[in-house]
Symmetry: none
Subunit: 222 residues, 2 copies
DNA sequence: TGTCTACTTCATGAAGTTTTCACTTTTAAT
DNA sequence: ATTAAAAGTGAAAACTTCATGAAGTAGACA
């Protein structure tokens, strides 16, 4: 397990590095935002985790993080910051960080969070799911079809999202139903069918990206 | 996306539920630890995320969480608590929670963390069974024969799947019937035979990969 | 209060699937 | 070789499933 620390406070960086090395991790430190950005973009598989300070000379942590995620870098990111307001945390997490830790922190807590992040399956979901002509942003719920925005209702979005998270997998009506609706019983209702119909219309599904698997359910795929 | 809130403070639970529902999530609330534990163990795929209070009547959140992880429940867990000491967070994360949020918190932050956790991929194990020239993918239901896709109906697929899961084992008609048909009685019907016939035709079974075991049933094998 | 929107239900027809049935062929035992 | 039981076949009939338009309902919001 190899961890990259991006932190301009050299003393802090060294402390963290020492602690993590004692735990058996390999650790590199980079103190400059742009340099870190480039390093990860060039060599995407070198590190298993990035600990990223929010305040950095040159390019700040949030932009760096955002840029990585834009470029489909999926390495787990733990963001560090001196700021501890809620808005601030939200900005960090929305930029694509997987976790957030406010300074000052106990090393023990950093370690617990590092463990938790490394325990996750690699590759966090990109915020933006794409399939064929269609892309959906699960954060701001913008759906585009051939780069044109399409406005979907809530249920339509949920149905589409579930399909897109299960591309090429056949998904049953019950599955769709139980994921998008509350404690309920889908039997004797064709509401999923109706939403599928409306979805197909809204996304102009001539290419049949949403396929019907007769007797089973639906499948999304090229 | 469906979320389970396990929280005994009904008012708080309802508030969170409302907020999350406005964001388009389907939300259920359970206020008792043991009940939640059972629900998830019984139905592992229903929810995409659990928001778990640490303090619960009956069985506390940490034990519940620990027990789920012991039983290979992989759903992302966001733990809530009134305690905000570092040790406390560590206990939560080490019990297998993926994230930790101290009360009181801003809804916005909860939401950001929920987004971050849901961005993680589900592990799906594509299940491909192969025998001779034939392979079936039970995830996307694609069947190939000599690498050419073959389209099967529901019953045909279920019969073939059962045979392929029991390669080289003799399978009775009754077994096939009860696997592919609900509550039914196979006697006096040759519908299994007919499906076998159609299957053989569709997969071009010159090599006799589906053998008839006279007086008993069928067997699949090279 | 009415109006709007999202969602659900219902009725329908068309397309597809499954079952049945009468018949033929194969098999194994005598 | 004969025979009876078992298995295979093709086609028609019975049944399911799905897409769809339209009507109905519920809740938000002014």
């Amino acid at each position: 397990m190899k961890i990259l620390i991006v932190e301009d406070n050299i003393k802090l960086a060294e402390n963290i590095k020492q602690g993590l090395m004692q735990e058996g991790y390999a650790v590199d430190v980079i103190s400059e935002g742009l340099a870190a950005e480039r390093r990860i973009l060039i060599n995407r598989d070198e590190y298993d985790l990035v600990i990223l300070d929010r305040m950095l000379p040159g390019k700040d942590g949030v932009s760096v993080c955002y840029n990585w995620r834009e470029n489909e870098v999926t390495i787990p990111i733990l963001m560090l910051t001196a700021l501890n307001t809620t808005d601030d945390k939200v900005i960090g997490l929305d930029a694509g960080a997987d976790d957030y830790l406010a300074k000052p922190f106990a090393f023990k807590e950093l370690l617990a969070r590092v463990h938790a992040l490394l325990r996750r399956p690699k590759q966090s979901f990109p915020d933006i799911l794409t399939n064929g002509d269609i892309s959906i942003n699960t954060t701001n719920r913008i759906v585009k079809c051939k780069n044109k925005p399409v406005s979907l209702t809530l249920k339509e979005f949920m149905v589409l999202e579930y399909l897109m998270r299960n591309v090429n997998k056949v998904v049953t009506r019950d599955e769709l139903y139980s994921h998008a609706w509350d404690f309920a019983d889908s039997s004797f209702s064709n509401t999923v069918d109706v939403h599928i119909k409306n979805l197909r219309k809204k996304i102009n599904d001539n290419a049949k990206i949403i396929q019907t698997i007769r007797g089973v359910g639906y499948k999304m795929g090229l």
